[in-house]
């Protein structure tokens, strides 16, 4: 049964690399353009719509957005993004539960969910400076003590 599910997934995503991980998890690589059709495929052919989380990563030479779908099995869609202009199509219109994770990815990593209906600040305070993405690898935010010391100097 395990193999059957995996082969069905490979069949459904012929242009992607599908890697089988521990616990039967399936990791599927996609380009940003393939994301929306892939989500449709997951729903139509695998009845998967429960999105557990979207994990954004700064891989230094690229960004990556990992979409974790859970159901009978766990399928993780990995979308590799351009480091200079990280953008993904927003899923919030199709899967309302995606909205919070897309906002968080935008606030903390600067990965923009294009077409998101409500991109208010969520993971950082309202007065957090624009353009400062704390989870980026090249961003160091000084601790308040260090800041005070710098100001005093």
């Amino acid at each position: 049964m395990t193999d059957d599910y995996e082969s069905r997934v490979r069949e459904a995503f012929p242009d992607s690399t599908v890697t089988a991980g521990a616990k039967g998890r399936l990791w599927v690589t996609l380009t940003p353009e393939q994301l929306i059709p892939a989500v449709g495929t997951l729903w139509e052919r695998f009845s998967l719509r429960q999105l557990a989380v979207i994990v954004g990563e700064d891989l230094r030479d690229a960004f990556q957005a990992n979409y974790v779908f859970t159901g009978e099995r766990v399928i993780i869609l990995q979308v590799r993004l351009d480091h200079d202009k990280p953008e993904v199509p927003s899923l919030a219109g199709r899967i309302p539960g995606a909205a919070v994770y897309e906002r968080e990815m935008k606030d903390l990593l600067g990965i923009v969910p294009v077409g998101h209906p409500d991109l208010r600040r969520q993971a950082v305070p309202e007065d957090w400076p624009e353009g400062v993405y704390p989870l980026r690898k090249d961003v160091q935010i000084p601790r308040p003590e260090e800041e005070a010391a710098q100001e005093g100097a």
Partner: protein, 144 residues
């Protein structure tokens, strides 16, 4: 004479305001547990109040995130004199597990003066009772 009366009233039944400055809730739950029948801090006449204007003692947990720093200061300013602050937990004392994290000030004494530090991660209810009793004791000594 009035001073002694005020101290007596305060020592006999300090009213406390609880404030969480970004804590994980461990210390907050234990603070609440110490007010519950099992540990019963209320037998000292300690009452949990909802507004700073009625409070004698500010019981504060958490490492103080940048955002809560402003609120903490404001709450402290709203309390009438004489007032006391108790730092509950390792985070409130010195930042605890969150030392080095960029969004915390690492201890409530960075924002308001602290009268008593109660360490622990989280603080045991027994330690909270011990700390509060010591604070009350020191107030009594001062007034004598």
């Amino acid at each position: 004479m009035l001073e002694k009366l005020k101290t007596w009233a305060r020592v006999k039944s300090p009213w406390i305001l609880h404030f969480n400055s970004g804590a994980c809730n461990g210390c907050d739950i234990e603070t609440l547990a110490s007010l519950m029948p099992h540990y019963d801090l209320e037998r000292f006449g300690v009452l949990l109040k909802a507004t700073p204007r009625h409070a004698d003692v500010l019981v504060c947990t958490g490492p103080v995130t940048r955002q809560t720093a402003r609120r903490l200061k404001r709450i402290y300013d709203q309390m009438p004199e004489p007032k006391f602050v108790v730092a509950v937990g390792a985070c409130a004392c010195s930042g605890g597990a969150f030392r080095g994290c960029y969004n915390v000030l690492e201890g409530i004494d960075k924002v308001v003066p602290v009268s008593a530090y109660i360490p622990g991660c989280p603080v045991r209810p027994e330690a909270i009772i011990d700390g509060v009793a010591k604070l009350l004791g020191s107030l009594q000594t001062k007034s004598a």
